[in-house]
C-alpha cells in the first residue's frame, strides 16, 4: 500500500468520523453565502422595482454582491472562527482518549501521515462547503444581473483571506489540543491562546492608564503587537485592511509565514506527544508551572483592577487584596485541574511563589513607575519632529479629511489628536519641546487627585504630544498643564506655521465650491468666482497663520465662514472658520461681497434680558450666600435676574457674544461659564417669541448686574 493510498484511506475514515462537522459546515455556509446573497440581492431588486432606489442598477447590485461574497460578510468571519475551533478540537480530540490513542499509535502508520490526514480533512471541511456555497452564490448573483469582474475578484480575495485566517486559528486550536489531554482543558487552552494577547494588551494599557500620569494610548507597538498575537484580532485586522484596501503583500506574507511556523510547531508537538498524555490536563508536564505563571499573573493583575472598580475602592490596599485573591484562586484552580485533585491546590509552591513575585514586580513597575515612564522625554537631538494637540483651544474645529484612499476619494472623520498626530510635523520644535520638558519636570502640571476645586479644571489644559524619533519610533505622551505658566510657550507654538497647518483642517482643503458666512445677525451665501473663492481661502489661511493666542484671548470672533466643497459623490465637506477682528483683509473681502459686520442688537426689538448665575461651589460657605439660600430654599445655588428696561439692557448688550465662540476657546476667553445671559425678542407678527443664550466676558459684567446676581468676585 503506497503512502498516498494510506493517506487517502486515513482521510476517508476521518471524513466518516466527522460527518457531523461536515454537515454543520455545509448548512452554515449555505445560510452565510447563498441564502444571505439571495435575500440581499432580492431586496435591492425590489427597491428598484418599487422606485425606492435610483442610479445605476448594475452597480448597486454588484456592490451588494461584493458585500455578500466579500470580506464585508461578517457572518463568514464568525463562521470561520467557529469552524476553526470546532474542527481543531474534533480532529485531534482522539488524543485525549487512551483507547483511541492505543488504536492509532499501534498502527504501522507514521505520525506525520496521521497528522496530515486529520489536518487536511479539517481544512476540507471548511473549503469544500465554502466553494460549493460560493458557486451557488455566483449563480444567484449572475442570474440577477449583478455579476462582474469586481464581484469575482472580491469573492476570491475574501476566500483567500478567510482561508488563511481559518488555517491560522485552526492550527492554534490544534496546538492547544496537543498541549492538553482533556476536552475541557483543551477548550480553556484554546480560549487562552485566542484571547491572551488582547487581554494582556488591554491589561498593560489599563495599568499604564491607572498609574502613569503621562500615558496616552495611541498605537503602542507592544500593545498592538500583543493584539495581533491573537488569531481572532489578527483576523479582524486583516479583514479591515482588505475592506479598507490597505492590506499589503508583506503583511499577507507574514500571515502565511506565521501560519506555516505554527503548522510546523503543531507537527513537532504531535510527534513528541507521548501516548500516556491522554487524560492528563497538560501533555507536557514540564510546561505546567510556566503555563500556570503565564496565566495566573495577568489574571491576578486583572482581578486587582476589577475588584477595585467593582468595590469602588480606589486604594492600593484593596487593589493588592484583589490581586492576591485572583492570583491565588487562579493558581489553585490550575493546580486542581493539573492533578484533578482538590487537595493539590497548593502543591507546586515554588511556581506559586515565583508567579507571586513576578506579579508584584510588574505591579510595582507600574505603581511606582520604576521604569521612569512619566519622567521620560527623548533627547532633543534624537527627535525628528513633533506633533502637539492642545485641548481647550479651537474646540469648534471639526476634523474631516477628504483623501484619496486606494484610488477612491472619501471623507474620513478624525479626532483632534489623531489629526494632529497625522498631519502636524513640527520640525521647529523648540516651543513644543520646552513645554513637554517643563511638564516632565513637573512644573505646573496637574496630577491625579491634585484638583482643588471644580474651577481648577478651567485653569488647566491637556496637551497630547507625539515624538517622532530619528530611529522611526513614535512616542506618545499627554501632559495636563496650567495655562498661565506656559502661556508664552503656548503662544510661541500657536504662531508656528507648522502647528497651524497641522492643527487646522482648512489647510488640507484643496478646492472651495461654495462659501457661506454667518453671524448672530446675518447669514449669507456669497456668490464668488473660482478665483475669488481661492483668493478668500488664501486670505483666510494667511490671517489664521498670524493669529496668536494673545489675539484669541482678547478677541471675540465676529462671524464664521463655511468653506464648502461638494465632492463628485455629492458628499459635502465643509470647514467652519472663525473670523477674528484682527482678520482685517478677510473682513474687507467679505464686506465687499455683501456681509455686514456692523450689524448688532436692535434695542427696540428686545423684550428682556435675563441673567442666570450658578453660584460656584467654593462660594457656598460665604455669609451672603448662606443667607440667600435660607431665604430661597427652592433656588439653592442659583440666582436669576431679569431686566426689561431699555437703558439697563443697553448697558449689557455690547458685551454679549455667541455661546459657541465662548466654548471655542473657553480656556482662554475670560468668560464665566456660571453666568448665562438670555436675550428674548419681542413677540413677532405671528405671535412667536425668540430667545437666545449668550456669554459675557467676566470683566465686562456691569457692576449693577454683579450686585443683583450676588456675583462671587473670587470666581475665575
Amino acid at each position: 500500500m503506497t503512502s498516498r493510498n494510506l493517506l487517502c484511506r486515513l482521510m476517508r475514515e476521518d471524513v466518516k468520523r466527522r460527518l457531523w462537522a461536515i454537515a454543520i459546515s455545509f448548512v452554515a455556509f449555505l445560510f452565510a453565502i447563498p441564502v444571505y446573497t439571495a435575500t440581499s440581492v432580492e431586496r435591492v431588486v425590489n427597491m428598484f422595482k418599487q422606485g425606492q432606489a435610483l442610479g445605476d442598477r448594475h452597480e448597486y447590485l454588484s456592490n451588494t454582491a461584493m458585500y455578500c461574497l466579500g470580506v464585508g460578510n461578517s457572518a463568514l468571519v464568525l463562521l470561520t472562527i467557529i469552524l476553526a475551533i470546532l474542527c481543531g478540537i474534533s480532529g485531534f480530540y482522539y488524543l485525549h482518549s487512551k483507547k483511541k490513542v492505543d488504536f492509532y499509535h499501534s498502527l504501522p502508520v507514521k505520525r506525520e501521515s496521521l497528522f496530515s490526514s486529520i489536518y487536511i480533512i479539517g481544512i476540507a471541511i471548511y473549503v469544500i462547503p465554502y466553494l460549493v456555497s460560493l458557486a451557488i452564490g455566483f449563480v444567484i448573483v449572475g442570474t440577477n444581473g449583478a455579476f462582474g469582474s469586481n464581484v469575482w475578484i472580491e469573492a476570491w480575495k475574501a476566500f483567500g483571506v478567510n482561508l488563511l485566517n481559518y488555517c491560522l486559528t485552526y492550527t492554534v486550536v490544534i496546538i492547544a489540543v496537543l498541549l492538553t489531554g482533556q476536552l475541557i482543558v483543551s477548550i480553556l487552552a484554546s480560549g487562552v491562546f485566542l484571547a491572551y494577547g488582547p487581554v494582556v494588551a488591554v491589561l498593560i494599557g489599563s495599568l499604564k492608564d491607572t498609574y502613569f500620569e503621562t500615558y496616552y494610548e495611541y498605537g503602542s507597538i507592544t500593545e498592538s503587537f500583543l493584539f495581533r498575537c491573537s488569531p481572532i484580532s489578527a483576523y479582524f485586522n486583516m479583514t479591515n485592511a482588505v475592506y479598507e484596501k490597505t492590506l499589503s503583500f508583506a503583511i499577507t506574507l507574514i500571515y502565511i509565514a506565521v501560519t506555516m511556523v505554527l503548522v510546523i510547531l503543531a507537527v513537532f508537538l504531535y510527534r513528541k506527544r507521548s501516548s500516556e498524555a491522554a487524560g492528563k490536563a497538560i501533555s507536557y508536564q514540564v510546561l505546567q508551572p510556566y503555563i500556570k505563571i503565564v496565566v495566573s499573573v495577568p489574571i491576578g493583575l486583572w482581578s486587582g483592577i476589577i475588584f477595585t472598580s467593582l468595590m469602588n475602592a480606589n486604594s492600593s490596599f484593596w487593589l493588592i487584596f484583589g490581586m492576591v485573591c485572583g492570583y491565588l484562586l487562579c493558581s489553585c484552580i490550575m493546580e486542581i485541574i493539573y492533578h484533578f485533585d482538590f487537595k493539590a491546590a497548593f502543591k507546586s509552591r515554588g511556581s506559586l511563589l515565583v508567579g507571586a513575585v513576578l506579579m508584584f514586580a510588574i505591579f510595582s513597575m507600574f505603581k511606582w513607575d520604576l521604569l521612569q515612564y512619566d519622567k521620560y522625554i527623548p533627547s532633543k537631538d534624537k527627535i525628528e519632529s513633533m506633533s502637539v494637540a492642545l485641548s481647550g483651544i479651537d474646540n469648534n474645529l471639526e476634523f474631516r479629511v477628504y483623501n484619496e484612499d486606494n484610488s477612491r476619494y472619501k471623507i474620513s472623520y478624525m479626532d483632534r489628536i489623531g489629526y494632529a498626530f497625522e498631519y502636524m510635523n513640527l520640525k521647529d520644535k523648540d516651543a513644543a519641546y520646552e513645554i513637554a520638558k517643563m511638564a516632565v519636570e513637573g512644573e505646573a502640571v496637574l496630577n491625579e487627585g491634585e484638583i482643588d476645586s471644580d474651577s481648577d479644571y478651567d485653569k488647566y489644559m491637556t496637551i497630547h504630544v507625539q515624538y517622532r524619533l530619528n530611529s522611526g519610533r513614535h512616542i506618545y505622551r499627554s501632559y495636563a498643564i496650567a495655562v498661565e505658566p506656559y502661556f508664552d510657550l503656548l503662544n510661541q507654538l500657536y504662531q508656528n506655521k507648522e502647528y497651524k497647518e497641522g492643527a487646522f483642517p482648512i489647510y488640507t482643503m484643496k478646492e472651495v465650491t461654495n462659501v457661506t458666512c454667518y453671524s448672530e445677525f446675518q447669514k449669507l451665501s456669497i456668490t464668488l468666482t473660482e478665483e475669488e473663492k481661492a483668493q478668500l481661502l488664501s486670505l483666510y489661511r494667511d490671517e489664521l497663520l498670524a493669529l496668536s493666542l494673545e489675539d484669541v484671548r482678547n478677541e471675540v470672533p465676529l462671524a464664521t465662514i463655511d468653506f464648502g466643497y461638494t465632492t463628485d459623490e455629492n458628499d459635502v465637506l465643509s470647514y467652519s472658520a472663525l473670523v477674528y477682528p484682527s482678520f482685517t483683509r478677510t473682513i474687507d473681502f467679505l464686506s465687499m461681497h455683501g456681509f455686514d459686520f456692523t450689524k448688532t442688537f436692535n434695542l427696540a426689538d428686545i423684550m428682556n434680558v435675563s441673567i442666570d448665575y450658578r453660584i460656584p461651589q467654593y462660594a457656598h460657605e460665604e455669609e451672603q450666600y448662606i443667607a440667600y439660600m435660607k431665604e430661597n430654599p427652592e433656588w439653592t445655588y442659583d440666582k436669576s435676574v431679569m431686566y426689561k428696561d431699555g437703558d439697563t439692557i443697553s448697558e449689557i448688550l455690547p458685551y454679549l457674544f455667541n455661546n459657541s465662540y465662548a466654548w471655542n476657546n473657553g480656556i482662554l476667553t475670560n468668560y464665566d461659564p456660571n453666568v448665562t445671559v438670555t436675550v428674548t425678542w419681542k413677540t413677532d407678527e405671528y405671535g412667536n417669541v425668540t430667545s437666545n443664550q449668550y456669554a459675557i466676558v467676566s470683566n465686562n459684567i456691569p457692576d449693577f448686574v454683579k450686585e443683583d446676581i450676588m456675583y462671587a468676585e473670587t470666581s475665575k
Partner: protein, 300 residues
C-alpha cells in the same frame, strides 16, 4: 524474536514496569500473567510502540519498536478495550485494516465472521462486549502479522467462544509461525494454550519459564511408606518444593524428571506410589512459594 532488555516505565510517581527483561521466541505462545496493576498492559503497550520506555529497550526482530513503521507492520495489537470507529461495521473495519496491513486476508475475515455468527454489516456499537472481543481477534488474525499482542482478550468471552478462539490460534500456529503474546490476569485461561509464561508482579517479572520445561521439571507424587525412617530418607534425597501429609499418605511436589523422582521413591520400597498430574496453577504456586510469594493472592 522479541527482546525486552531492562525495560522500565513510570507514570508520574508510579513505577508501572520496573527493569523487565524477557525474550519471546518465534512460534511460541507467550502468556503474560499478573494481577491488575502488575504492568501487563503497560508492557504490551511498550511492545506495541504505543509507549516509549523510560529506560531499556524493546526489540522486535532486532528493530526498536517505538515509532518504527517496519517493526509495527509485524504485529497487531488488540487492546483490552479495542477501539472501533464510531458507527462502523465489521466491513468498515475490514476495509480500514486492509489498507493498513499489506497481508490482510479479506476472505478469511469474511469466513471467520460467518463462523462466529457475526454480521458484516451490523454496526459495531450494537455488539456485546464478547462480540467486540471476537471481532478484534478476527481482525488480529486476518491482519496476518507475525506477532499478535492480546491484552485480556479472553476476558468477556464465553467458554465456547474462548475455546473457538484458542483453536483458531492453534491453527494459525500450525499453518504459519504466528507468535501470540497474551496478557491475562487469569492463569487458568492460558494454561492450555501457552508455551511460555511470564509472571509479572508490581512492575517486575517474577519468573519467565517454558511451560513444557516447568511441567517436566516439577512433579507431584503421592506415596505411602512402611516406616518413618524411609520417609525421612526420601525427603532428604528429593529436591522438595512442597510436602503434604494425611495420615500415612505423603504428597510431594518436587523438582526433577518423573523418572528421577519415582526412582528415589522406589528405592525405599513404598507400599503405594502414584505420580499425579500437575496443573499450571500448581506449578506456579510451587515456583512462587519458593521465592516467597503467595501466588493465590496474586493471580487466582
Amino acid at each position: 524474536m522479541i527482546e525486552a532488555i531492562n525495560v522500565s516505565k513510570t507514570f508520574d510517581d508510579i513505577k508501572a514496569v520496573d527493569q523487565i527483561s524477557a525474550t519471546i521466541k518465534e512460534g511460541n505462545v507467550f502468556g503474560l500473567v499478573g494481577t491488575n496493576g502488575a504492568g501487563k498492559s503497560t508492557f504490551l503497550r511498550m511492545m506495541s510502540g504505543i509507549l516509549k520506555p523510560d529506560s531499556g529497550e524493546i526489540k522486535l526482530d532486532g528493530m526498536n519498536v517505538y515509532e518504527n513503521i517496519e517493526a509495527k507492520e509485524r504485529f497487531f495489537y488488540i487492546s483490552d478495550e479495542q477501539f472501533f470507529f464510531p458507527n462502523a461495521t465489521p466491513k468498515d473495519m475490514r476495509e480500514f485494516y486492509r489498507s493498513i496491513y499489506k497481508n490482510f486476508d479479506v476472505n478469511r475475515f469474511d469466513k471467520l465472521i460467518g463462523q462466529f455468527e457475526l454480521s458484516l454489516t451490523r454496526k459495531i456499537n450494537t455488539f456485546s462486549k464478547g462480540m467486540k472481543k471476537q471481532l478484534s481477534v478476527i481482525c488480529g488474525i486476518c491482519a496476518n502479522t507475525k506477532y499478535l499482542f492480546c491484552d485480556e482478550t479472553f476476558d468477556g468471552l464465553d467458554p465456547v467462544m474462548r475455546q473457538a478462539v484458542k483453536s483458531i490460534f492453534a491453527k494459525e500456529l500450525t499453518e504459519r509461525e504466528m507468535t501470540p503474546i497474551i496478557a491475562s490476569h487469569n492463569l487458568r485461561e492460558l494454561e492450555d494454550i501457552c508455551d511460555h509464561v511470564g509472571l509479572l508482579h508490581k512492575g517486575g517479572i517474577l519468573l519467565s519459564k517454558d511451560l513444557f520445561d516447568m511441567k517436566c521439571s516439577i512433579h507431584k507424587v503421592q506415596c505411602v511408606f512402611k516406616t518413618q525412617d524411609r520417609v525421612e530418607e526420601v525427603e532428604k534425597e528429593l529436591n522438595l518444593l512442597k510436602k503434604e501429609q494425611r495420615g500415612s499418605l505423603y504428597t510431594y511436589t518436587a523438582r526433577g524428571t518423573c523418572e528421577e523422582i519415582t526412582a528415589i521413591i522406589q528405592k525405599r520400597n513404598p507400599i503405594f506410589v502414584e505420580v499425579l498430574p500437575l496443573s499450571l496453577e500448581e506449578i506456579f504456586i510451587s515456583e512462587t512459594e519458593v521465592v516467597g510469594y503467595d501466588i493465590k493472592k496474586l493471580i487466582m
